[in-house]
């Protein structure tokens, strides 16, 4: 139930985000979800793409430092409190959320949210236990 995310180190310099995205676009790789964590000095671009290995190669060829990490994608009821409910399950299980961002597309009536926690395996089992919909890699590709 883990899905692959690619992260890219970006210096806070004009044009670097564009160049990173262009490197991916040139290889015809589609970005499904994206977020940028930034500090005053640097940023980390995190993406879910349809072909992470290919994206990694393209980015590294263009001089970027990258890393592929596992995250989980959660289907969240598109209604008030939908996400809060899921976070409560994790909170109760003493799991820390490191970061979170959303997919643009919806899966049926659900919004899709990317989650990275300090304990992915435990998060998966807790959420499954509570009947939360976790998306598989195939589900992601179908979005």
């Amino acid at each position: 139930m883990k899905i692959k995310q690619i992260s890219v180190f970006l210096e806070n310099k004009k044009g670097r985000l564009y160049e990173a995205l262009k490197a991916v676009a040139d290889k015809n790789i589609n970005i499904r979800a994206l977020s940028i964590a930034d500090t005053s000095e640097f940023g980390i671009l995190r993406m879910i793409v349809n072909n992470p290995e290919e994206a990694k190669k393209a980015l590294e060829e263009n001089g970027f430092t990258t890393k592929i990490t596992n995250v989980i994608a959660v289907g969240v009821k598109d209604e008030p409190g939908g996400l809060a409910e899921i976070l409560k399950y994790l909170y109760d299980a003493d799991i820390n959320v490191e970061y979170i961002y959303a997919f643009v597309e919806k899966s049926k009536e659900k919004a899709v949210v990317v989650l990275k926690t300090n304990n992915l395996d435990k998060s998966i089992s807790i959420l499954q236990e509570k009947g939360v919909h976790l998306l598989s890699w195939d589900d992601i590709l179908k979005l």
Binding site: E11, F64, T66
Partner: protein, 434 residues
């Protein structure tokens, strides 16, 4: 292994006798032949006959880089141009270059020094030595060339630059010894691996002689690890002869100075006073055997310590420690003296950080600020901001502990710091000091 065991293991008393005899000769020679020295000696009221012991050298005037610029181009030559068979110059990045003139005997001397140095680290006629120091006016290339040929090794005069070809040559020729600047060695290793898919440690290289710029023990470890070789430190300077004034032996515990040809002193750079043995200061060299351009008490600007204890390798000649800094490179930040090597050592102590860095000095509000830019490496990159922030803070803390001044560390993208094929440019001073 010894090239000239008799000299290299000479009894100390005999060595001092030899040095004194040569010192008297060279002082007399320059006084008679070089108007520059005659004038300086006369100003100090000293005559060549006044030099009766080695200790009396302290009465002689220093020669500085500035003096050499004023004497440009041939003012310090002690032989007519008809006897000079070769000239070299320093890079001249900070003004007129320094010109060095060599007689045929000087060239032979130079070859002897390099032959001793290379033999000391086990290079023989069976080795293939790739010389990736620049050939031409720079002393690095030709100096090594003469010495390696004297040993009878197979010389590959690759000169500096053209990195892809350097690696192809190493691979195809089976190069066993490399001579280049340490920063270029690291670049070669990186280029081989990343641009050519060649594992540098799989090459036939066994050892290298690295110098012409400041480097650290950490850099040595990196070079040794990446190539799987023994890396040795060589010292020299254009004003004296070029590379080969001193070289490390397999003990890697200081560089043996070829004292039968060079008389060394360590002085306090501020006062010019001679410092007692074992104390850090500026290296001053008198060349005892040069014909074309002998140097009297040349202030090298290099900071080091002199040791005379017996070395494990059996040589009796004194050793200088790895050059710690150049009094010109020394940066004064908020009144504190800092050498780039201190910063380098500190950042390389952090696991996974690449030895590519740059120091930027600014003075935004009447106060100096140091920024150390360090390249982000694959090894330490993380998808988590906190992890990267912690790394940055750790680097800041290490550097601050090493230099005693607050610094700002910035992580930059890989390969964004310019690579050099010669001496690495580590400091960018934007302070606009008047």
């Amino acid at each position: 292994m010894f090239w000239n065991k008799e000299i290299e293991c000479m009894d100390e008393e005999k060595l001092r006798e030899l040095q004194l005899k040569k010192l008297k000769e060279v002082v007399k020679r320059v006084y008679e032949r070089v108007p520059f020295y005659k004038k300086k000696f006369d100003e100090k009221g000293i005559k060549p006959e006044d030099i009766k012991t080695l200790d009396d050298i302290k009465y002689l005037p220093f020669t500085s880089k500035m003096d050499m610029r004023e004497a440009y181009p041939f003012g310090l030559f002690a032989e007519p141009l008809s006897e000079i068979v070769e000239v070299h110059t320093s890079s001249g990045t900070t003004g007129k270059p320094v010109v060095a003139g060599y007689t045929r005997k000087d060239i032979e001397l130079w070859a002897e020094l390099i032959a001793r140095s290379l033999t000391m680290i086990g290079v023989t006629k069976d080795d293939i030595i790739q010389i990736a120091y620049g050939y031409g006016l720079f002393t690095g290339g030709l100096g090594f060339h003469y010495g390696a040929q004297k040993i009878g090794a197979t010389v590959v005069p690759a000169s500096a630059g053209n990195t892809r070809r350097q690696i192809e040559l190493m691979k195809d020729f089976g190069t066993t010894v490399i001579a280049c600047t340490p920063s270029y060695a690291l670049y070669l290793a990186e280029y081989a691996k990343e641009e050519m898919g060649i594992d540098p440690s799989a090459l036939k290289l066994k050892k290298g002689s690295f110098g012409a710029e400041m480097w650290t023990e950490e850099m040595r470890k990196e070079i040794e690890k990446r190539f799987g070789i023994e890396a040795y430190n060589v010292y020299g300077l254009t004003e004296i002869i070029g590379p080969g004034v001193a070289h490390e032996c397999p003990a890697k515990n200081g560089l043996h100075i070829w004292e039968d040809h060079f008389l060394v002193e360590i002085i306090d750079p501020e006062t010019g006073e001679t410092l007692p043995e074992g104390q850090e200061g500026e290296l001053v060299i008198t060349s005892l055997s040069r014909e074309g351009m002998p140097m009297i008490r040349f202030r090298t600007r290099d900071i080091t310590t002199l040791h005379r204890e017996k070395c494990d390798c059996g040589r009796t000649l004194a050793r200088i420690e790895r050059i710690k800094g150049r009094s010109d490179d020394m940066i004064k930040v908020r009144g504190v003296m800092i050498f780039p090597y201190q910063i380098e050592q500190a950042i390389l102590e952090v696991q996974g950080v690449e030895p590519h860095y740059q120091i930027v000095l600014t003075r935004p509000h009447y106060l100096d600020e140091i920024e150390v830019q360090v390249e982000m490496s694959k090894e330490v990159f993380s998808d988590d901001v906190k992890t990267i922030e912690n790394l940055r803070k750790k680097l800041e803390k290490r550097v601050e502990e090493a230099v005693g001044v607050r610094v700002k560390v910035t992580l930059v993208e890989p390969k964004s710091i310019p690579r050099s094929e010669g001496k690495a440019k580590r400091i960018i001073d934007k302070r606009n000091l008047k």
